[in-house]
């Protein structure tokens, strides 16, 4: 019997190879985080070290410097076709998370940059490293999920993905999103990183009693309390504790909101 990680790995490799066979003009989104770096490693495994499509980094210009350094080093070592996509207009125009609201910033610097890149290179499918156990609507994702021109997604009416038979035709949809890591949990990712000895951005490891659980732009990320400064320690930490999903700051906000709502409803 294949062990758990081998099963996850084989399933993902199968999906990656399917996507390439069915759609040919594809790209992989690399956020330089632990999930997409795992996805990148799986792509290297799938194609025996010769990843035959571009690896795209959506650069908002607000990323941590450690992220840029990691990207530049490993894209060279692994011989990747690196594509850096930036919404130059918006950045030049001064868009940042404190200028407008966070949603607008993400919208322009991330989503629009991706839209522009897809339109320019005419990618038919994009590989992403999202997992089902991340919050909320992610739970409803399919392995092969269509997005229309407006990046809209009809999650209520999705056809079933029965027995590894994935969507392989497009009609008017702009591109297909492929999610080879859907069935992996956060702990699975770390255990795989541990087993394969994958390089990981330093930010994930504790310094001064804190580390980042997820990384993105320097402006909008926050740390959690932790002393785990190696992969092995992170795995142990995840196994034994159920760290609160959100930081203390988010909880304070929720409490304040609830007090106000309960007051308006006449409870307090």
């Amino acid at each position: 019997m294949l062990d758990h990680l081998d099963q996850l790995e084989s399933q993902s490799v199968y999906i990656i190879r399917e996507a390439y066979k069915q759609f040919k003009d594809i790209a992989m989104l690399w956020s330089i985080g632990k999930d997409s770096t795992t996805l990148l490693h799986l792509c290297r495994k799938a194609f025996y070290g010769h990843v035959p499509f571009p690896v795209m980094h959506i650069d908002t210009s607000y990323k941590f410097k450690e992220i840029y350094a990691f990207r530049d080093r490993w894209s060279k070592e692994w011989n990747l076709k690196l594509l850096v996509a930036r919404n130059e207009e918006a950045i030049a125009g001064g868009m940042n998370p404190s200028a407008g609201d966070k949603l607008a910033c993400c919208g322009q610097l991330k989503t629009d940059a991706l839209k522009q890149a897809i339109a320019k290179y005419r990618f038919r499918a994009i590989l992403l490293g999202i997992r089902r156990d991340e919050h909320g609507i992610r739970a409803k994702e399919r392995y092969f999920s269509p997005r229309n021109r407006q990046f809209e997604w009809n999650y209520k009416d999705q056809p079933p993905e029965l027995w590894d038979q994935y969507k392989n035709q497009q009609a008017g949809e702009d591109h297909i999103r492929v999610h080879p890591l859907l069935h992996w949990s956060e702990l699975d990712i770390w255990k795989y990183v541990q087993r394969e000895q994958l390089p990981i951005v330093d930010l994930y490891f504790a310094k001064n009693g804190r580390r980042y659980r997820s990384i993105g732009c320097e402006t909008c990320c926050s740390t959690i309390e932790s002393n785990a400064d190696t992969v092995d320690k992170v795995v142990e930490e995840l196994k034994t504790t159920r760290i609160a999903e959100r930081s203390g700051r988010a909880q304070d906000k929720e409490r304040a909101y609830m007090m106000q709502k309960l007051r308006s409803l006449g409870y307090m």
Partner: protein, 238 residues
């Protein structure tokens, strides 16, 4: 006998997630409470039992006083029945002392200084709610076993527990299972409805802007909460 299970804060989304078949009955859906400025428990149940929008009336003396408001049986749908039993319904037979203590504990939770004290108060708050739920269950089951033509049981457990624990899905799942069993035990025609639903704000639960209904005999569409008086009176005639 016609039975109504008035389940405060029963949330359609959770019903669809947990699939409690006896709460769902043959037909179920959402109610329209958009005519009200806020989904207030007292206002909604008052409007339910009288068949009219009672927001202004109930709030006239301010929203701290509203919990004490009581309607005359003559103004309500219960007057159509010979021997109705109405258990703990806000605005009619509400157990004032019980629910005032709830609100006191709720306030104490938010005012508690450290996390340790908060958990102590949460435990006291939850225990208090579960004890009341056990009492209500017994009262309800006794009434249903009796010879009345109408029984309404008001179950506040989902709302009370939900305010401080809605994010604990495990706990909510078990509560919905218990409510499902209560529904399963009623073998006569019944209407199940809630005043509003609930949505998670972290661990907490806020009122959502629509309620839940279910029926074993008719598809009611998207009724307003004020429509139920007519619907229940219709069931009696039919």
């Amino acid at each position: 006998m016609i039975v109504v299970l008035a389940i405060d804060a029963l949330e359609l989304a959770l019903v669809e997630a947990f699939q409690p078949v006896h709460l769902m009955q043959k037909f179920h859906g959402r109610t329209d409470i958009s005519e009200f400025s806020l989904p207030r428990t007292m206002v909604l149940w008052s409007s339910f039992m009288t068949g009219a929008n009672k927001e202004k009336v109930v709030l006239a003396d301010g929203d701290k006083e509203m919990w004490n408001y009581r309607f005359d049986p003559e103004e309500t749908l219960f007057s159509a029945f010979r021997d109705p039993v109405v258990i703990d319904l806000p605005g009619f037979s509400y157990d004032l002392a019980q629910h005032e203590e709830e609100r006191r504990l709720l306030k104490a939770f938010f005012e508690a200084g450290d996390d340790g004290k908060k958990e102590e108060v949460r435990k006291a708050y939850n225990d208090h709610a579960f004890r009341h739920h056990r009492e209500i269950k017994k009262k309800f089951q006794d009434a249903v076993a009796g010879d009345h033509d109408f029984v309404l049981g008001y179950f506040s457990i989902a709302d009370v527990i939900g305010h401080l624990n809605f994010g604990n899905r495990m706990l909510m799942r078990m509560i919905y299972r218990d409510l499902d069993e209560i529904a399963a035990s009623v073998k006569v025609p019944k209407i199940i409805l809630s005043d509003h639903g609930m949505q998670a704000i972290g661990i907490f639960g806020d009122h959502s802007g629509y309620g839940f209904w279910s029926s074993g005999t008719a598809d009611l569409g998207t009724p307003r909460i004020t429509d139920f008086r007519r619907i229940i009176e219709g069931m009696q005639k039919g």
